[in-house]
């Protein structure tokens, strides 16, 4: 229960914000596409999207596995998907005593939202 036991398990795997301009601003370079595509891919699975939404909408913006396991798949499958979301830099996790808590960085959501901003100049 003590924060002294905190083991930050993963910093985001890549610098997310501000990786790239809005998709509508100019054609992405190869490097920008390589940076941004894994974030979209991580949310491109229905189970991962549900887990991500469950964490993002949970009280305080974080949740432990015990809070979010009702998505109709096995615990190992949940763990697998959470790992994928961490690898994509969308979640961070921290162990506190028995449980690992997962958190969505608002900056990640903001960065992805910015990618999808509609550029009035080209709309």
């Amino acid at each position: 229960m003590s924060n002294a036991e905190a083991l930050p398990e993963a910093a985001p795997g890549r610098a997310v914000a501000p990786c790239c301009p809005p998709l509508t601003e100019r054609p992405f370079t190869a490097e920008e596409a390589e940076t941004a595509a894994p974030m979209f891919k991580a949310l491109g699975d229905p189970v991962r999207l549900r887990l991500f939404s469950a964490i993002a909408s949970h009280e305080g913006g974080e949740a432990c596995v015990c809070d979010i396991s009702d998505v109709g798949v096995s615990q190992p499958t949940v763990s697998h998907h959470l790992k994928k979301l961490k690898e994509a830099g969308l979640l961070t996790s921290e162990r506190r005593g028995t449980w690992v808590y997962y958190r969505v960085e608002p900056s990640v959501l903001a960065a992805m939202g910015q990618l999808l901003a509609v550029n009035a100049a080209t709309a």
Copy 2:
């Protein structure tokens, strides 16, 4: 060159806007996740992301294949990825004479951006 030849090749494959609340608002249902995940998946490939960005940022918000083929892959590969983007409802296309023109629906970008909106109440 005449619009009389226009052959709308695909309406969006699914109703995108407004499919779902922001990811941070409440846990997605299974149905919402099944609707939204394919849009993210479609952008989860670097080549598709570059093609999408090239079209979205092109003058007038549309482009023909001749405008966007400099992404370092073969023409059949470009066509394959454009088909995937259409199937996900992110692009529409229309034949005009010799060329097929691709267009990003601003409503699709807006809907995806809304999914990623940070809910101040939970941040």
